[in-house]
Structure formats: structure tokens, C-alpha cells
Symmetry: C2
Subunit: 352 residues, 2 copies
């Protein structure tokens, strides 16, 4: 071995394969996220509550049934048409509680701030959180602030944890999806994700697309008056409609069939998706949910949802079927079928 | 105005004063942190629970009294002698619940990962969290993972939120400190902070200083058998003993007087502090607490604490006094007095 190659051997670090490193796709909410959960988190930390992987965990404390959920928000940019990171963090956490049929009560928030963040920006975000809390009927009871040196974080990250009480029994859950159930979407898809992407890419479209971020607690409260026929609820965050339905299909062991011709997507969202090469069925809608409902309560569920401004355009988009268990299949406009798989990479990093 | 100056006016951003920006000191746990809380967070989000600023919030859910706390962990380096970011995150959150006399039950954890983090490092951290959970008697019920692009975070940040049930009434709280109470430290100070600093500065000392990170739930459970005379408990994280006692003095409106000659500090910690120009009374001890106890229960409190390995060296270090309300005063070895003020900058960024 020459001196040169000996020196190289000393100065070069041991090569690490890309499969040994965290990739953006591990945060997509798709295949790589599922793989990370299954191979890293559950083997060490798994238990019967965590293993359910629902939007919020249900546990007992004393004689009370609690719902608990936590989420980190790393959205970029931190201000976007229709909202900001603070509003999104409150809405997202309130919605995760609502999806388990819980009444949201309390929030805790931890802030990681980058040295050099403008105080005015922080104030604007905190003010926005206040408004979102008031509107959602929750109070913030605990907080924490850490500051890291310039370049060690990107402006601001917020983790919100929500606590609610569960008053319905059984609570909505992915395991309760049943063959024959209808799949209802509360409105059109993809607004949040495309608002972020357009802000990031500075796309100039004729009309500005705004995030649909909203607290869905009232929409859900109305829907739950229909009773225990509301089997499952999911908000459509990371990975959009396809990811939410894939999780439900896998967890319940059923198949889900969607009718492309009736899935509501605004023409501007569709156009922006086409420009960016994205599939709107995988794009986040922070103010939308899907409800899996027993067929005999389809009418009352739709009526309830449509009576709320956030569910005005609620519509049946598909059905739970006995075939292709664990999969979501799209019946296209021209009559073909295609499988809507989980995301295998990351099409929209830092969307929430 | 010349063309040149007109161009300058266009191309230069409006100058922003340093006082308009977040600084490292805003995360110190000292004066700037208090100022941020008072001027940014409380005016918007304040309520009777949040305003108490205790280690954990006490709230009701149904008929159950809950304690809730949240903390972001951004420690650098992520592995250090005696622990790692995962262990620290579990211990720190369990301890914040314990300080309110709560029995820790559940944890939620959110992870912000930097693209390129080694999976092996993440696995090691998660394994360490598992061990810390088992040892602390808590289960992790909810989690979330986000990935940000390379350079947008520093390896890994973890936010842990803890939920416990409060079975003592009244719960220990800073407001309950009373003139005449004794101040008991559970052991020697500064190990955690100096372990981090030595790891960061690659200080070569004869003996390796290890972090004292530990779950204090058993120590507290023993101490609480003494009864309601245990008025207040604080773990000694960011800002160390001085910051914890300053918070208690301000909240309770009492003065606190410490006797320097009896405050336990290991000679190696003292030596490392001198090399780095740090005051050990401001350095974090993640496995230590102070207890403020009614004087007639001093003996039984000490006995209880010393029966636990983590409180073996518990000792009375001072007293709550009627003079200099809201302040902590140190009686030095040579008989002088000096005020131990809140930290005004940041001496140890990213210590937890």
C-alpha cells in the first residue's frame, strides 16, 4: 500500500450506506415512516396502547378515559397563505383528539427557537395560537422554550401535545372499519399542501390557494350524534387521503375502493398539482377528514356534516369492500382500477 | 441622494436590533427566559394554570386530578458520559411530574430528526428511552416523527410530555414555601452540566465526570410519606440550584438564605467549573432536587431521602427567611453575603 492510500485510509470516515441513515422519506407518513416505526420504535417502546397507531392514544387515569396525542410541527415556510405554524400546531393536535371522539381540553406546547428568530415573528405565532385555542375550546396549560444556536434549527419548531376526555364508547378507531361501510370526505382535498408548496415555489397562479387548516372538533361533535355507527375518523395530514385510507385498510384488514369521479378536488389545486407533478390524493388537507360510517347511517352522517361550514361539501367517495384486504383501490374515470399505495418516498417534506 | 445611496437603500434590509431577536439567553432558564414568558407567552396564552409556572401543571379531567408537563430536549452532544438525549428526556419529564407530587403514568414523545442522522444512533437513543421508561414505571403511549432536511436541525431533538395522577393534597408547589422552612439538597451539584461541558470542550481531567441524570420518582414517593410538610420540590435543571431557588423565592414572596460551606459540590466539578469560569450553583444537576420542608419535619425528611441511593447525601443547605423577599442570598465561607441572582445571559447553552 502506497503512502498515499494509507493516508486516505486514515482520513476518510468509514462509508455509511444510505440505508443506514435517516432520509426525508422517514418523515413522509408513508412506507419509510411505517418501516421506522416497525423496526426502531415499536420493538423497544411498543405496548398495547402505542401499537394501535391511531391518531390519539386512549388510556385511563383514575376513573377518567383520556385521549392523548403529540405532534412536532416543522412546516416551512412558517407563515403561509391561510395560516402559520402556530395555528397549524393547535389545529392539528385538536383534530387528532377529535378523530378519537374525544372532547379536546388541554394543550401543552414546547418551542425550539433558532437564535436570531425575530421576536415579532414569535409574537405573531403565539397570538395565532391563542386565537386557535379560543376557537377550539382548549387551554394551554404547560409550555417550554429552548433556544439553539444559529444554524442548529430552522427558525421555529413547535411540539403540541393534546389531552381530551373520551365520552363515546366505543371510540372511533381504524380497527372498526367494516365491509359495507361508506367512506365520506368532509370536503375538497389538497388545499393545505398546495398552499405550502405554492408559497415555497413562489408559483404565480391567478388565484391564491389558501391552507384549509381548521379545528374539526365541532364537525366531529355533530357527526358523533349519529351514534356508534361512525366507525372511524381520520384527518388528512401528511400523505393526504391515500395515506389515511391505507392506514385504515391495513389496520382493519379490509379493502377500500374509491370512485375517482366523485373525489372533490378544486380545479386550481388540480392545476397546481399538475404543474408540480404531484398527486392530489397524497397532498395534505389540514381541515378535512374522512369518516367511515355504517351504510344505514350514511344519510344522517352526511346531513350532520353538511350542517357545519367545514363539512358543507361532504360527500361519499367510496366504500369498504371485502376484496384486496389491506389495500386502497381507485376506480378511475375511464373505468380502470389502480392501487393507491403508501408513499414510498417523500413528495412534500415539511408540510406540517 | 446619489444613485449609489439609493441602491443601498433598496438592497439593505431594515436593520434589526439585537433586542428584537431571539438570543441563546432566552433559553437559559434565567432572566431572559422569564422576560420572554412574561412579555410574549403569558399575555397571549396566560390562564390560571399556565401562570403558576410550576414544574408541571395540575388540572382536572373528569374526576381525576392530572399533572402535565412538556419539555424539549436539544442537548449537545446527544451522547455524553452517563447518558444520552433519550434517557435525559424521559428522566427530565418524569422528574417534573414528581416535583408536583404526581405519580408518573404516561409519556408522549415527538422526534425531530435531521436528514442524515445515523439509524444506529436513533436506535441507541430509543433503547435508552425504553430502559428509562421501565426504570421510571411509565409507558410511552403516543409518538410522532418528523424529518427535516440536512442543516435544518442538529441531529435529533426530542419533546417529551408527561402525564401523572396527583394523589397528595395539597400538592407541593413554589407558592407553599414558608418562612422558617429548611432547604434540603438531595446531593451534590453540577454533575450533569459539567459532564456535558467536559464532553463538549474535550477537557481531559484525571477522572471522568458523569451526568447524574436519574428518575427521582422513588425518592419523592418516600419523601412524601412525611406528609404535607413537604412544601415544595424542584429538580435542578437549566440554571441549576440558583435558578430553581430564585423561582421559588419570587413565586412565594419569601427570601432564601444558603450557607455556602455546606453546599455539596464534588471537588472535580469545582475544579472543572474553575477551569471553564463557571459557577457550580448555576450548573444543571439532572438527578438532584431541592425540597423546602417545614422545620419540624426536617429530621424525618432527611431520613427518608437518605434511605434512597439518590438521596444518600441529602443535606440541609439553607432556610427560608423573612428578609430580602424574592431573593436568594449566599452566606459565604468567610462570612460575607452575596445575592445569587437569576442568570442574565446563557452560560451553558443546550445543556438539556
Amino acid at each position: 500500500m502506497s503512502d498515499y492510500s494509507a493516508n486516505m485510509a486514515l482520513s476518510c470516515p468509514v462509508p455509511v450506506g444510505v440505508s443506514d441513515l435517516i432520509r426525508l422519506g422517514h418523515g413522509s407518513g408513508g412506507k419509510l415512516t411505517a418501516q421506522l416505526i416497525e423496526t426502531v420504535f415499536l420493538p423497544e417502546l411498543g405496548n398495547e396502547v402505542l401499537n394501535q397507531l391511531d391518531d390519539a392514544a386512549l388510556v385511563s387515569a383514575g376513573s377518567t378515559r383520556l385521549a392523548v396525542t403529540t405532534d412536532a410541527y416543522v412546516v416551512n415556510p412558517i407563515f403561509f397563505p391561510g395560516g402559520d405554524i402556530g395555528k397549524l400546531a393547535v389545529h392539528g393536535t385538536v383534530n387528532d383528539l377529535s378523530m378519537r371522539g374525544a372532547k379536546p381540553l388541554y394543550l401543552a406546547a414546547s418551542f425550539i427557537l433558532e437564535e436570531g428568530l425575530r421576536l415579532a415573528d414569535l409574537k405573531r405565532i403565539v397570538k395565532s395560537m391563542r386565537e386557535a385555542c379560543l376557537e377550539s375550546g382548549v387551554i394551554l396549560i404547560a409550555g417550554d422554550t429552548k433556544v439553539v444556536n444559529r444554524g442548529a434549527a430552522d427558525k421555529i419548531f413547535i411540539t403540541t401535545t393534546g389531552i381530551g376526555v373520551v365520552e363515546v364508547d366505543p371510540a372511533p378507531s381504524a380497527v372498526r372499519a367494516e365491509v359495507g361501510d361508506v367512506v365520506i370526505a368532509s370536503g375538497d382535498l389538497g388545499l393545505h399542501g398546495m398552499a405550502i408548496m405554492c408559497a415555497r415555489e413562489a408559483l404565480e397562479l391567478d388565484t391564491r390557494i389558501e391552507s384549509d387548516t381548521a379545528s374539526l372538533h365541532n364537525l366531529v361533535a355533530g357527526l358523533l350524534t349519529v351514534g356508534s355507527s361512525v366507525h372511524c375518523l381520520r384527518d388528512l395530514t401528511r400523505g393526504g387521503l391515500s395515506s389515511a385510507l391505507n392506514e385504515i385498510a391495513v389496520t382493519s384488514g379490509t379493502g377500500i375502493e374509491l370512485d375517482e369521479s366523485v373525489i372533490p378536488i378544486h380545479p386550481e389545486v388540480q392545476a397546481a398539482c399538475e404543474i408540480l407533478g404531484l398527486d392530489p390524493l397524497y397532498v395534505a388537507s389540514e381541515g378535512r377528514l374522512v369518516a367511515i360510517v355504517a351504510p344505514d347511517h350514511q344519510g344522517s352522517a352526511l346531513e350532520q356534516m353538511r350542517s357545519n361550514p367545514l363539512g358543507r361539501c361532504a360527500t361519499v367517495i367510496g366504500r369498504v369492500v371485502p376484496s384486496h384486504s389491506g389495500r386502497v383501490v381507485l376506480k378511475s374515470r375511464i373505468g380502470g382500477h389502480r392501487i393507491l399505495d403508501k408513499l414510498s418516498g417523500e413528495q412534500l417534506p415539511r408540510i406540517c
